[in-house]
């Protein structure tokens, strides 16, 4: 295709991904979180705005948009402003390789890269730089401490995620997400790799700073961690980045372990969304059930438990693939 058609496709795709993620992940995700947390805690959750409280996030967004935009006195304005762009951008870039379904003309994916899962791991690791910039640019000791701890946590938990991705790619024979989904048409990988699935869920929960691994941004611990000093729309963009990343991790777990868009009767996109929201419900269920880890318990859990377990899993899977199957 000529290069301007490709450039136009990229721009349109970017706008579509951004709007879809902003509406689905940020708005419905936050609303879902409040309703699910209310249900688990035996209360109702927001019901005032709209029918049964469904327009609550719209009201929240309008409230955030009209707040005053404060920049701390001695903060570095360039770094303070660019951190806001990097975190949601890296979270949104994850969606390029996620296959949402299949149509008559091929899989419904923005770009089926042949290094699909490697690209996903790479863009998730770019968020850490944005967090460090946000922590530093705020000129606030608590923000800096929160930023450093959050960065240490995310870097530590990228390694089990990478090892699990290698294990699944080993089984499927390719790094491309579409190939991984196609290989699962008879048996989902969650049945043959349950340990990998659990490692991935634990590491993904820590990677997006959710409870029980959310020490760095809990209100009772470090004010709000690395985004303490951000107000209004910038706060909303950080939330977009966090919830977007959570949805991206859940989408990748559906692609790698739950068979992507395979399902008997309904269209493929509907099956994908059902599985995605089931996993999101599991994430939220875990959040409101367990207490938080301390930062040293958190890092010990990754380095001393998850990484050896993931390595052992990789070795056993590789043995099985190379020796037993031949």
């Amino acid at each position: 295709m000529p290069w301007y058609v490709e450039a136009l496709r990229a721009v349109v795709g970017t706008i579509v991904i951004f709007s879809a993620v902003a509406v689905v992940a940020a708005m419905f995700g936050v609303l879902l979180e409040r309703k699910v947390s209310g249900w688990i805690q035996s209360r109702i959750g927001p019901t005032h705005v709209g029918p049964r409280g469904l327009l609550q996030t719209l009201a929240d967004t309008i409230k955030l948009l009209q707040k005053e935009h404060v920049v701390p006195g001695n903060a570095d304005p360039a770094i303070f402003a660019s951190a806001v762009v990097i975190v949601p951008l890296a979270a949104l870039l994850d969606y390029v390789v996620v296959p949402f379904g299949t149509t008559r003309w091929g899989p419904l994916v923005f770009r089926d890269l042949n290094i699909g899962v490697l690209y996903f791991a790479a863009t998730s690791s770019l968020i850490v730089v944005g967090i460090l910039m946000a922590g530093w640019g705020s000129n606030n000791k608590y923000a800096l401490l929160g930023g450093l701890r959050s960065a240490a946590q995310m870097v530590s938990y990228e390694i089990p995620i990478g090892l699990v991705l290698i294990t699944v790619a080993l089984l499927a024979g390719s790094l491309s997400t579409v190939t991984i989904v196609t290989v699962q048409s008879h048996l989902w990988f969650i049945a043959s790799q349950p340990v990998s699935f659990l490692i991935f869920l634990a590491a993904a929960t820590a990677e997006v700073n959710r409870a029980p691994f959310d020490l760095v941004e809990a209100e009772s611990e470090l004010v709000a961690g690395y985004f303490s000093e951000y107000t209004g729309m910038r706060f909303a963009l950080f939330q977009l980045g966090e919830y977007g990343e959570m949805f991206a991790m859940a989408a990748l777990a559906v692609t790698l372990f739950l068979g992507g868009w395979h399902g008997p009767v309904l269209p493929s996109v509907v099956w994908f969304l059902i599985k995605l929201y089931a996993l999101i419900f599991v994430f939220m269920w875990v959040r409101w059930t367990f207490p938080r880890f301390r930062i040293d318990q958190l890092l010990n859990f990754s380095w001393k438990f998850l990484i050896p377990l993931a390595l052992l899993n990789l070795v056993v899977t590789a043995f099985f693939v190379m020796v037993v199957r031949r």
Binding site: A7, A78, N114, I115, L118, A122, L126, V129, L148, V155
Partner: protein
Amino acid sequence: MIGEAVAFYVLAAITLASGVVVATSPNLMHSAIALVPTLLGVTGIYILLNAEFVAGIQVLIYAGGITVLILFVIMLTEGGTGLRVRQRNEQVAIAAAVSAAVAALFIALAGRTPWAQGAGTLPSYTPGAIGQNFLGPNLLLFEGTSVVLLVTLVGAILIARKEAGE
């Protein structure tokens, strides 16, 4: 063709402009943060050169790992707070002359040599070809690199940890 040229010039501009900020900025934090667009520009160059696996590894390790490490060390040492201290030493003029001379030498060399077009085609699925190569002809290189990584891991922990009793 034109698309490739546009992409190359845009990526080269990003890489070189950020490289200038890294090399000459008086603010150490700005230098470190400008390393990210430089490395991402180099990633784009790798993708133009059909080396997708190397591009993915570059983002994962360089932009996501080494940059974070550098930012951590800057924040943990005085580089973050000593922003009013001058960052250039007295060799600036000699350094500029030497760098310009080296660049001129390489560019002249590159322009005058008739580079021959090689035979063969690039593999279409580079991760597969790289994997076969690492476990085939270059196995010793692969194993040697893993030994180096192990030594680095142990060594960095040993060097950077606090002494017992300090």
